[in-house]
Amino acid sequence: MTPPQRQRRHPEREPDPAPRQEGEGRNPERLFVIGEGNDGAADIDLVTLIVGRAEAPGSLPPEQAAVIRLCETPLSGAELSAYLQLPFSVVSVLLTELLAAGLVQARAPIVRQALPDRSLLEAVMHGLQKL
């Protein structure tokens, strides 16, 4: 018995693949779209670690107060989305506002780079070995 064979994609020549179901033809849109010119929101990554910097002022909306309360210890954007049960795009907006107000601090993620940090890869391998 032989497995099915993969054919390499040739994007420039390829016709639209498999017929789509009705309504699937167009790319979906996020329901919550972050406004144009709202700089900073796009900088929040799923794994940006957020830490609270201050007590939540009493005037703060409940969602933002909840973020600050949850971020007593570092928490990623993805975890905030999960615990708050809010779409990640909404959490990004909340965090952008809190960052601008100086109420939380962001620790940027380490992303794949052209010149990768081998010591970083080794640290991850070392951590996995302990599992």
Binding site: P28, V47, E63, L70, T73, P74, S92, V111, G127
Partner: protein, 206 residues
């Protein structure tokens, strides 16, 4: 939006809290078709119970019922399960299990762009589901390894035969695994990390 007051939102349990020394995080993506075992794999190695981040999207569609020919927009929720491994006091690794359809990937900014690499999880009963995913990752320059989740009733092929069928480059690792087992899932992640390390040493990671 109905939002519960902040006092009632359960945050991480005390044992799930990261130390204040956590400085930075990295992410790996596990990608594969529905039911291939992504969430099982995340859960078997994660130090926290897997969590779910959701994104709501609108989908332009034609109503099935007669609504006078007008287009309707329906909201669809796409979920992504993830887990976490603290690799040191300072560094945290997150694992995201994401659906194979590229049209969902953009919902989370930089999901693949920022990832160190990816695991393509395949099921030999539905090998063709993974073809498109691998092509997309190649086009985006995301390094990946292939992990074959060995379901008991799935056909078994020699790995070299699968390598040929998947048209994998000679250096791309392909291994079998049982994602229900922590050691096996960890071995898959180690295989990916060793591959990334080799790419880094030879200067081919871009």
């Amino acid at each position: 939006m109905d939002f519960r007051s902040s006092d009632t939102i359960p945050g991480p349990r005390a044992e799930d809290q990261l130390p204040h020394t956590a400085e930075a995080a990295v992410k790996l993506v596990i990608v594969g078709g529905f039911g291939v075992g992504k969430t099982t794999m995340v859960g078997s190695v994660s130090e926290i119970r897997p969590l779910t981040t959701e994104e709501t999207m609108t989908q332009a569609g034609i109503g099935v019922d007669d609504n006078f020919g007008s287009e309707t927009k329906t909201a669809t929720t796409v979920a992504m399960d993830f887990g976490r491994i603290s690799v040191s006091d300072k560094l945290v690794l997150y694992l995201f299990g994401t659906p194979g359809q590229e049209r969902f990937w953009f919902l989370w900014n930089g999901l693949f762009e920022g990832a160190l690499g990816a695991v393509v999880l395949v099921d030999t009963r539905r090998l063709e589901v993974s073809f498109d995913v691998m092509g997309r990752l190649e086009e985006r320059g995301v390094p990946f390894v292939v992990a074959v989740n060995t379901f008991p009733d799935a056909p078994r092929y020699p790995l070299e035969q699968l390598r040929t069928a998947l048209d994998l480059a000679a250096d791309v690792p392909i291994i079998e695994c049982d994602v229900r087992r922590r050691a096996s899932s960890r071995d898959v992640l180690m295989t990916l990390m060793r591959f990334l390390h080799t790419l880094a040493l030879t200067g081919r990671l871009s």
